[in-house]
């Protein structure tokens, strides 16, 4: 089996540059923290050229490079960058795993392993595959080095040597592992502090020095850890096979250096986070089905909200508008210090429209519109009107807007052509309370918010009652059609339960 390792040496630096393109090309240093003793953990090529060294204090780095931009290492950005590295590897192989985080000199590096078996049929050579993967990683803003070998451990070591010396070959042919490992320093295997000091005391610096020693008595002299190190140095360490990547959830976030208390700057930040998330989803061939937004406040409090998208989309403008509508409807109570967006993504679907029928809206576009309208007005205020089965004249319902295809409707038209010129009623919700004078059992004078005067024409009553079995829903009304002197035509009713007059409609 052939395994490739994609290694990004300065992950904190590229994670920051990935989030803030404006810093690209400028001397930039990543600090380990905000305390006075914070050190430089990563520096851009421009900063290194200006004399900024790793693990120096920030004031010293600033003194060497006056124009130095300093950013604090952001765990959220690094986490997102590690995720992007996985996405990058998944574009080449379904069998991907993240290398465990290293310590010491390699603490700032991030690596992923991917299955490289059979890549020569696609890329002619393993070196070509490595070059293609490196080019893609540079394109994604995470420039790294790639090495291909027979095991995860060896490929990682080869990638580390390539990061130091790019002239090294990117592919190690089968059988050449022993020769490659023999020249390596034992420090590359991260032996741990106690074992490293014992190795130094014994004068063992390189792999070949260790392998030259007889195995008997080695553990007694150097400790039991030396056996595992010896196996690794021989390239014989047992490794678990590469699993298929099963984690569908993608997350992008950012820790803000300064808390944001207004919506506009927060949206500016969200735009960048969303843009990076969509880019990663596209690399997996997916679009947003639902979006989880997380806001972190001072004191560690976090708020999470799932924004449902009516139709899967990767339209940044639409998603940003949904976020803006959410923030406008529920503005954050405290200044925001952390922002994260996450989505599992769903495959995008196409829709076949009919050639001979009226062209309706694009299904995806219609769903996006509905989602925006629901975010603007509330889900219970958008839909198709429904005429529920019942006798109550003011019945009203709303159902999800899902128009049937035009063909079925045109078939129903053939049987019963609709009548034209029918009058409509304008509902008054809630019904207006009215004062009514009654003469001989019929309304005679009306006073309400929309009309006042004697009634010149009255039709009715129509007694309508129902739901007598339900205490809360039962009703009993006497309905009248009335015309007030000023030509207003109203639907008047007397509620027998409440014993009051109401106007619930206007003929218009």
């Amino acid at each position: 089996m052939r395994i490739a390792c994609l290694l990004v040496p300065d992950l904190p630096l590229y994670a920051e540059l990935r989030a803030c393109e404006a810093l690209r090309g400028r001397p930039l240093a990543i600090a380990s923290g905000t305390d006075p003793g914070a050190e430089v953990v990563a520096a851009s090529a421009e900063a290194r050229a200006a004399g900024v060294l790793l693990y120096t204090s920030i004031p010293r780095a600033r003194s060497r490079c006056p124009g130095l931009a300093v950013r604090v290492a952001s765990p959220a950005l690094e986490q997102a960058a590690r995720g992007a590295l996985i996405d990058l590897a998944l574009a080449f192989s379904p069998r991907v795993t993240a290398a465990p985080r290293a310590a010491g000199a390699f603490a700032a590096a991030a690596a992923v392993h991917l299955d490289a078996s059979g890549v020569t049929s696609l890329f002619r050579s393993e070196a070509g595959f490595a070059a293609e993967l490196e080019a893609r990683s540079t394109e994604q803003g995470l420039p790294g080095v790639v090495a291909v070998a027979g095991s995860k451990d060896v490929s990682l070591l080869l990638a580390r040597t390539r990061a130091r010396d790019p002239r090294k070959e990117s592919s190690l042919p089968p059988g050449a592992e022993a020769a490659f490992l023999a020249d390596l320093s034992l420090d590359w295997f991260e032996p741990g502090e106690p074992l490293a000091s014992r190795l130094t005391r014994f004068g063992l610096q390189r792999v070949r020095d260790l392998l030259a020693l007889p195995g008997r008595g080695l553990a007694e002299r150097l400790g039991p850890e030396i056996l595992a190190l010896r196996k690794r140095a021989r390239g014989e360490a047992p490794e678990s096979p590469l699993p298929e990547w099963r984690e569908p959830r993608l997350e992008e976030g950012i820790d803000l250096e300064f808390a944001v208390d207004r919506i506009e700057p927060l949206l500016f930040v969200l735009r960048g986070v969303l843009s990076r998330l969509l880019k990663r989803l596209r690399s997996r061939g997916r679009v947003v089905g639902s979006l989880d937004c997380q806001l972190g406040f001072a004191g560690g409090r976090r708020v999470e909200r799932c924004i449902r998208v009516a139709a899967p989309t990767d339209d940044e403008r639409v998603l940003l508008r949904l976020l803006a509508l959410w923030l406008e409807s529920q503005p954050p109570e405290d200044p925001v210090e952390f922002v994260a967006l996450a989505s599992e993504g769903v495959p995008e679907r196409g829709e076949q429209l009919d050639l001979f029928l009226p062209r309706g809206p694009d299904p995806a576009g219609l769903d996006r519109t509905l989602a925006e309208l629901e975010a603007l007005c509330g889900a219970e205020r958008v839909g198709a009107p429904n005429d529920p089965d019942g006798h109550r004249p003011d019945r009203c319902g709303l159902q999800p807007f899902d128009p049937p295809p035009a063909s079925s409707d045109s078939r129903t038209q053939e049987g019963a052509p609709p009548r034209s010129g029918l009058g409509g009623l304008r509902a008054l919700r809630p019904p207006l309370t009215a004062e009514v004078q009654v003469q001989r059992g019929r309304p005679h004078f009306l006073r309400c918010a929309v009309a006042c005067g004697p009634l010149v024409a009255v039709a009715g009553p129509w007694r309508i009652s129902g739901h007598w079995w339900n205490e809360h829903e039962r009703f009993a009304f006497d309905y009248f059609d009335v015309q007030v002197e000023d030509t207003s035509l109203l639907r008047l009713r007397f509620d027998w339960r409440e014993k009051r007059w109401q106007v619930d409609g206007l003929y218009d």
Binding site: L357, P358, R359, G360, P361, D362, G365, L366, T369, E372, L373, L376, C377, R381, V382, G383, A384, P385, N386, D387, H391, P393, R395, C396, L398, F401, D402, P403, P404, A406, S407, D409, S410, Q413, P418, R419, S420, G421, L422, G423, G424, L425, R426, A427, L428, R429, A451, A457, V458, A459, W462, D481, Q483, T487, S488, L489, G505, L506, Y507, D508
Partner: protein, 244 residues
């Protein structure tokens, strides 16, 4: 041999051509022949008006409300604005197309719309909480292709609409072939409307026995038309649909 049936006498004319009997005589003869099949007019149930009786919107406006433009229907209470809007909805939805009603006043009545022949499943009913959001909804719907009719009901709106909003809506309607029809009590859209139709209440017809509200007549006047002067254009008649 005399005929078995008595035939009316026909007087010859001066040129020998038989003269037609005078109208009154012909009418009397027809009444006599039909006998009990005839009823007096005041006893007849009024038939429901058909499309030919009512002056249609298409006739009034020489083609209806134009797509891709903003139009406005304004009028006081019981002037027929809602009925005219329902007729537009009926024509649009019955042809298999979609329509949207933006209703900040929550005044759309599904049962009466269904009686008027509107295919409710093809109507998108949006009830924004205020006028500002109603304008935003209208703009968003106009950006969505596939809604040839968008009705913006501002009859109950008491908030002022900024003039720039009308300009945006007019441009939005022009971007896609959608007819944006605004309902209002008084004219709101000014010169941004391609057609402004003013309605005023006419006569309400009530039957006598039993007393029933049967028909509403409304006067219509084109207050503004880009290709023509303002003019009175007729009467709209809306019959009251039978109850369920």
């Amino acid at each position: 041999m005399p005929p078995s049936h008595a035939r009316p006498a026909v007087r010859p004319g001066p040129d020998g051509v038989p003269l037609r009997p005078p109208p009154s005589e012909a009418l009397n003869r027809l009444l006599r022949d039909l006998g009990p099949a005839l009823q007096r007019g005041n006893r007849l149930a009024l038939p429901a008006p058909r499309e030919a009786e009512a002056t249609s919107v298409g006739q009034l406006l020489a083609g209806g409300f134009p797509r891709g433009q903003l139009s406005e229907i304004s009028g006081p209470a019981s002037a027929g604005c809602t009925s005219l809007a329902l007729e537009l909805l009926q024509h649009t939805t019955r042809s298999g197309e979609l329509a949207a009603v933006i209703d900040p006043g929550d005044a759309f009545d599904p049962p009466s719309a269904a009686r008027a022949g509107v295919a409710l499943e093809r109507v998108l009913w949006v009830r924004p909480p205020d006028t500002a959001k109603a304008l935003r909804c209208a703009e968003r719907l106009l950006q969505t292709e596939g809604f040839p009719l968008v009705i913006l009901d501002l009859v109950d709106s008491k908030q002022l609409v900024p003039p720039a909003a009308w300009l945006r809506l007019a441009r939005g309607a022009a971007a896609h072939p959608s007819a944006l029809v605004v309902l209002s009590r008084e004219r709101l859209s000014g010169s941004h409307a391609a057609i402004a139709l003013g309605l005023h209440p006419g006569r309400a017809h009530w039957s006598e026995d039993p007393p029933l509200f049967e028909r509403l007549e409304c006067g219509a006047k084109i207050l503004r038309q880009r290709r023509g002067p303002p003019r009175e254009c007729g009467t709209l008649r809306f019959a009251q649909a039978p109850l369920d």
